[in-house]
């Protein structure tokens, strides 16, 4: 076991120490990653109260499930996965019918003809299917690599790339002015 001060130990070492019974190791992990996980939760839910509950549930879940960390991904990736899953579980439970079909966005715009469909960026993002939205949040907003996002979302890297591409196209269409100009 490392004798370094907590702040100088890496994430894996801290998680190992927590599993071994160190009473302070997980607190250091929380201190280190809380702001990033808060941002992920808030951007995923867009609701401060919901994000608060999700990120709290996620950290307590991580505390209890630390033994399940296998070490094949970075601890931050593992934490991202827990936070994202906590948020998505809550969103699905609270709004089980809110998900839009994959191509409903363009259909809706066509049906409305000249109705002004311009949305702000966050509203447009919210209207994407969950898979595309999460890919864009993680890759474009949080700067995760495609490989990291794939690990968080537990899908193939090609799937993340495809979701990013399709999500950007859909957003560009939503954000286009009624005249058709971007």
């Amino acid at each position: 076991m490392s004798t370094l001060p907590l702040r100088e130990r890496d994430d894996r070492d801290l998680l190992r120490a927590h599993v071994a019974g160190d009473p302070d190791a997980f607190g250091e992990l929380f201190r280190r990653h809380r702001d990033r996980m808060w941002a992920v939760a808030l951007r995923t839910t867009r609701n401060r109260e919901l994000a608060s509950d999700c990120v709290q549930d996620a950290f307590i879940s991580a505390f209890r499930r630390a033994e399940s960390y296998r070490g094949d991904a970075a601890v931050t990736t593992w934490l991202h996965r827990i936070v994202v899953n906590a948020c998505l579980d809550r969103l699905r439970r609270d709004k089980p019918t809110s998900e839009l079909p994959e191509y409903e966005l363009s259909d809706k715009r066509d049906a409305e003809g000249s109705v002004d469909t311009r949305l702000d960026v966050r509203e447009a993002l919210d209207r994407l299917p969950e898979g595309q939205r999460m890919a864009l949040i993680l890759v474009d907003m949080h700067g995760l690599s495609v490989a990291e996002a794939a690990a968080v979302l537990e899908v193939a890297e090609g799937t993340v790339k495809s979701r990013c591409s399709r999500g950007r196209d859909a957003m560009a269409e939503l954000l286009r002015e009624p005249s058709g100009q971007p």
Binding site: F26, R65, D140, C164, R168, P182
Partner: protein
């Protein structure tokens, strides 16, 4: 306005290849900022309580009760509650509501059924254990129930001799009624699942969601030590028999899940 950064044609498959400019637009959105101080404090308290529970969890045995005149009033109250709770169940508000109507430590919905408040013993609610006020009931704008808090874990130690063959019947008979029988403390702690937090961790590892109320009984199954867990959900009640040593890493299911009818 969306800007389009120049991208080499060879990078079309890379995430930074974005002729729409949406990537830059999303990246330019303001950062949400640091986690609010009150949430930091709340989670720190939860972590401290989890750490404390991990180090020093105890089972509080229930005391034997004697039937007396005061129970006549309790019985009358129970009958009145049944009169309210049964119609609530029949109108589709779920078994958790019926359990709540017994006045146990289960979640209790408001009369409209539109909100839920989770009442857990302090050993299974990190914030409460740390002196934090329990969360208030919440609803979504559409009146849907929000389960943000872990469900209660009520533990007793009856020492009942359950059998795998009759598990649903025995658990249905014993654990769906109000706690009124004489129970005995276990002779010695045998494992992690014999504490509220430990039992919750064990059940989580085998797929039981954290919001679901649990009533546990330290007992035996086919002669071997076991923890019998009655889990309530919106769709009914399910019984698991787990090993006393069951935990998040080594989930040991001895029997179940079995639906209680």
């Amino acid at each position: 306005m969306v800007s389009t950064p120049p991208v080499p044609p060879a990078d079309k498959g890379a995430p930074e290849h974005d002729p729409t400019g949406i990537r830059d637009l999303l990246a330019s959105l303001p950062d949400p900022g640091p986690m609010p101080a009150d949430l930091v404090a709340r989670i720190n308290a939860s972590i401290a309580a989890e750490q404390s529970a991990r180090e020093d969890a105890v089972v509080v045995p229930l005391r034997p009760r004697r039937w007396g005149w005061q129970h006549v009033g309790v019985a009358a109250a129970a009958a009145a509650v049944l009169g309210i709770g049964l119609p609530a169940l029949l109108t589709g508000t779920g078994p958790g509501d019926l359990l709540a109507s017994f006045g146990g430590s289960q979640s209790a919905d408001s009369a409209s059924g539109a909100s839920v408040e989770s009442r857990t013993d302090t050993s299974s609610v990190p914030g409460a254990a740390a002196g934090e006020a329990p969360r208030t009931p919440t609803t979504t704008a559409g009146g849907q129930r929000v389960r943000s808090s872990p469900g209660a874990v009520a533990l007793e130690a009856s020492g009942t001799a359950y059998t795998a063959a009759a598990l649903a019947t025995q658990a249905g008979s014993k654990l769906t009624t109000a706690q009124d029988g004489a129970v005995a403390a276990p002779k010695a702690r045998r494992g992690a699942a014999e504490t509220p937090n430990g039992l919750r961790a064990c059940l989580s590892a085998i797929g039981v969601e954290a919001w679901m109320p649990v009533r546990g009984d330290l007992a035996t199954l086919d002669g071997a030590p076991a923890v019998i867990a009655l889990v309530s959900s919106d769709t009914g009640q399910t019984v698991y028999a787990v090993a006393p040593t069951c935990d998040a890493v080594h989930p040991g299911v001895l029997a179940g899940p079995v639906r209680v009818r």
